[in-house]
Symmetry: C2
Subunit: 637 residues, 2 copies
């Protein structure tokens, strides 16, 4: 690592003081068109504005105005953590402004920040639901009040602004608020934690950005205080729900509320990194391993209980009751990314790509104006078109909804898409590593000098022929991730096949103009079988194609056939489609019995057909439908 780099101003959402891989900031890597470019355009052109419009309309932004003018105790809109939605949107805007500065968004951003800042109290405290006459006192409901959780999102928004080159209002607001929190909860303050982790990772990052070790120290305290069962439990939410059942460093697997688990884990990696706490880091790697091996859907989604939005037991992964909350998937990306930076292990990058493409991107509708909160892998009953003007509940059994009463997911999608370039590449002293295969331009400096990469995917994740033009000052190593699913992938450079070590094809050279790495990935659809211990998936198979999980949507089946009637004939080769696959299916005749248990396996009349499978993340964009990812296999196989 060169000493000349100022790591405090570089990096995206995460920039450890020390790590095996150095993350690249928006000035070093940018998405250049292609699949992810389209998603970033969707975010800039639709999602961000949609979120702002909704939050203005239903008063969540107005809460700050009313906090400033003293009327919020009489009239507060939304639940007690809606402040955080405004902060996540500010974070999304900041990253977007880093990508495309100086447009009209800058004005919108500044005005919104001013309204937030006006609500800050003289001692730094800033929350629209607590502390005023007529409101609950500050910190009177740490289990459910989400005060520190909201602060965390404000800190992350401030980091985004700072890391995109501005040390302005929101950064100052964050500094005052963090100082206040340090006083209240630091070594001399309350020995307490927030019911919903988030502030831990946010405090570390704010501390890294602003070079303020007290913030990092406080994050460490929050991590260490957890797991002592100090949070008051309820009839339905026990200590496990809050991850307060076992200290982080002693747990073996993630459990409880999936979003809480992921945010906490991300913060704990940050704390372990800054304190050089190898035991804590090992515990988190162990938890990641066990969670991925036993408690993760094929999409990368997590959380198999709707009740409490929780993890289930090992191998309890029902497709039809997959909760797989969008925010939990985003939290998983946060956690995996931090471990990738520490270890360089390709498995973390594999899960990040899988999760982004399948478990996160399924959330926004194609027009960016409706979202899934929970993401089932099996829709049994066709939903109904949402009312575009209505705030929805969680839309668990219907189509995407424009907004939710608890609307954590849309703004989380917005900030993730705005900063998705962060996950493309990292650097070391002697080279650059490409993790997320995306059309992108990378330009950074390593020990020998500048390195420039231009990645053109030619349509990835649909197509698999990728070109990387490289130039460097001096000899460097360029590593290109070969995804775990891509058996038979070949990377070539200067006529030679590149060696693949630990999941990365490696080219070491003094790259000169015209140097190009070619990567060929196998894009034929393939069958994916679940572990025999996933009871809910016994006798089924999924189809994947490249990094995309495919699904059968009733829209693509013969008229009147829903997905409960089809089975896949695994004896017929899968067919290739540019964006999916075709499969041979058997369609069972509708029939009924008065009791669904009998003395023989049911004998069905079937017809056969060919069905198209589409990428899972694109389902439910063509009207109400049924859908399933895992298809029963016909009895013959």
């Amino acid at each position: 690592m060169t000493d000349t780099l100022d790591r405090t101003r570089l990096g995206g959402p995460v920039n450890p003081s020390a790590s095996l891989l150095r993350p690249l900031g928006p000035s070093e890597v940018r998405i250049a068109g292609g699949f992810w470019g389209e998603k970033q355009e969707l975010n800039a052109g639709s999602i961000i504005g949609h979120c702002l419009t909704w939050m203005e309309r239903i008063g969540w932004v107005g809460n700050f105005d009313r906090a400033a003018d003293g009327t919020v105790a009489e009239h507060h809109d939304g639940i007690e953590f809606v402040d955080s939605e405004v902060y996540k949107l500010l974070e999304a805007m900041a990253w977007e402004l880093g990508r495309t500065p100086d447009g009209p968004l800058e004005t919108v951003y500044r005005e919104l920040v001013e309204r937030v800042a006006a609500a800050q109290e003289p001692d730094g405290y800033l929350h629209t639901s607590f502390g005023r006459p007529g409101q609950p006192p500050r910190y009177s409901d740490l289990e459910w009040g989400h005060e520190l959780y909201c602060f965390g999102h404000l800190f992350q928004a401030a980091v985004a602004r700072y890391r995109t080159g501005h040390d302005d209002t929101l950064v100052a607001v964050a500094r005052r608020l963090a100082d206040h929190v340090y006083t209240e909860f630091g070594p001399e303050g309350r020995d307490a934690i927030c019911g919903h982790p988030e502030i831990e990772t946010a405090l570390v990052e704010l501390g890294r950005a602003l070079r303020e070790p007290r913030y990092i120290e406080l994050a460490g305290l929050f991590v260490e205080r957890r797991g002592r069962r100090t949070l008051k439990t309820t009839l339905f939410q026990g200590s496990e729900y809050f991850l307060d059942d076992v200290p982080v460093r002693r747990a073996d697997v993630l459990r409880g509320h999936a979003v809480r688990a992921m945010y906490l884990s991300a913060g704990a990696v940050d704390v372990a990194t800054e304190s050089g706490d190898a035991e804590l880091l090992d515990a988190l790697r162990r938890q990641w391993d066990n969670t991925v091996a036993h408690r993760t859907y094929v999409t990368g989604g997590i959380g198999s209980h709707h009740q409490n939005e929780e993890f289930g037991s090992d191998f309890e992964l029902p497709a039809d009751r997959a909760y797989a909350e969008t925010c939990a998937a985003i939290g998983s990306v946060m956690f995996s990314w931090r471990l990738l930076l520490q270890t360089g292990d390709a498995r973390y990058a594999d899960l990040i790509e899988r999760t982004l493409l399948n478990a996160v991107l399924v959330s926004p509708r194609e027009d960016g104006r409706a979202f899934y909160y929970a993401n089932t892998l099996h829709q049994r009953v066709a939903g109904s078109e949402p009312d575009e003007d209505e705030v929805s509940e969680r839309a668990e059994s219907s189509m995407r909804a424009p907004w939710f009463e608890v609307s954590c997911c849309p703004t989380n999608v917005a900030r993730t898409l705005a900063s998705v370039s962060s996950y493309v590449a990292t650097a070391t002293d002697d080279g650059v590593q490409l993790h997320l295969l995306a059309d992108a331009e990378v330009e950074t400096t390593v020990e020998t000098g500048a390195v420039r990469l231009a990645v053109r995917t030619g349509g990835y994740p649909y197509a698999g022929s990728i070109e990387i033009d490289a130039e460097s000052e001096g000899e460097v190593e360029v590593r290109v991730r070969i995804p775990g699913w891509a058996a038979g992938a070949v990377a070539r450079f200067r006529g030679e096949e590149l060696p693949v070590v630990d999941g990365y094809a490696r080219a070491r050279a003094h790259f000169v103009s015209g140097d190009r790495i070619h990567l060929d990935l196998p894009m034929e659809p393939r069958l994916t079988y679940p572990d025999a211990r996933i009871d809910a998936l016994r006798g089924t198979v999924a189809v994947e194609r490249g990094p995309l999980v495919l699904c059968a949507e009733s829209t693509d089946l013969p008229s009147g056939v829903d997905v409960s009637r089809i089975a896949l004939d695994a004896g017929v080769p899968l067919g290739y489609l540019p964006d999916g696959a075709t499969v041979a299916i058997a369609i069972a005749e509708p029939r009924d019995a008065s009791w669904p248990y009998g003395d023989a396996e049911s004998d069905e009349t079937v017809t056969t057909a060919t069905a198209r499978l589409i990428p899972y993340h694109r389902w439910a964009n063509r009207g109400p439908s049924t859908m399933r990812v895992f298809l029963p296999v016909t009895a013959a196989h």
Copy 2:
């Protein structure tokens, strides 16, 4: 039907003004030892006392004392519907006193009634959580306050007392309370309903017992008012949860909160019966048919979502997430029994027996001092021994608990066991029908005179050789139910095989001393396959034996083997055990992979063994264990 019978004083918990089958009261039918006799002894000797002790200890009975002395607004124990637990216990005691009068229980009962009665207000209102200064006003929270729900349970307790020969304090209390409710909610009162149905069926029965048509009229209003979306919904509980989404007479299937659905349906049958409303009755039969065919576990249990304790979609019946609440099963018995009385259809009796033996009896521990609230069909992780002195949450993932914060199930089990003789037999003008096969003595009067039956089961539901001694004045028809599972059953009388018509073996005779009907039921264990559309059960099979669903409990497997590792070899004949079965199993070696999805079906190393299966309702009586009802079938089959 003879005109001389006073139907108001006969009958058990249900006694319609008119029905195809006339229910028999405690003076006409009694359990005489055997399986159900043991359960009634367990109830009398353990469960009832356990419930009373707990409710004294944690203040739920004391609430009534504090209501009487004016201090309950300052100190109320438990949630707002704990009054109902005291009433359900009073109902249990009343039925038990009908069975075994004049013991010390009579004194305990009377004292408890006096404490309840002392809390009644001058205008008849009686609830410990509402209406006093410092409490929410009466009827200010109809969605969640459960006031009318509690009243319903008081009415049912009063009916039990009245039908067992007493017109004393609780009956008077009920009358005053029902008059109050009629004033408040009748034709001149509020156009409103309770969030939790229960008062409907209770008002009809109180009206039947006390010959008060206003109560029946009010029940009809409550049924008709439902389904108009007048109950205020929440973020998580919509109109469907409350069964307030569609009018009862227009719905096709049960949905929403399973207990609410069953209690409402029972009350709606009662209303349809009293008003001769064939359309409403048809709607309820249709809902029963669809619910049984598509939304019922093999145990008879219902409710496949922990979230909201709700029904899932059709065929969404995960074994591991079966909620199958004990109270929902009891509600199902209530609903089916009412339809059986109206129609005489053996399918209702089949489901009653299945549900009682499997979905209800699984709740109490063998010693009657701990209970399941939810009843999974697949326990993945061994629980822990409960603290015998601690109030539990719902004990969803552990062993039975002694008491719950919401403790609806133990007292519901108590009242059901105390009145289980009600389900044994009915009468018509010309004969008697045996529905629930139990050791019992039946003595009633039909048009030709007295009929006496003595049923000895010889160990049913474990053994299948049943004898029924019969005597009658004049010619009558005795019908004996041949369970739906009992293919090949044979009933003989006077050397002849009896004809079986519509599920009942029928013997018409002038029965004289020495006349005996022999019934032989096939008690070999048998394989039961789930409908192919129950995705969660694909590739599995259950084993049933007689009316009992069996299960594999890890206690009966080789040391260290839990149920996730076993599969049943359906090619090996099942073995007979006096109380269960043996099966050939394959045991997979423990193994692990870092990602539980792969490009081939997993290839496991297995050993083979023979395993014992026990009745499902008896599991978890031998320490922490894992358990499953549906076993994967080995790949060879």
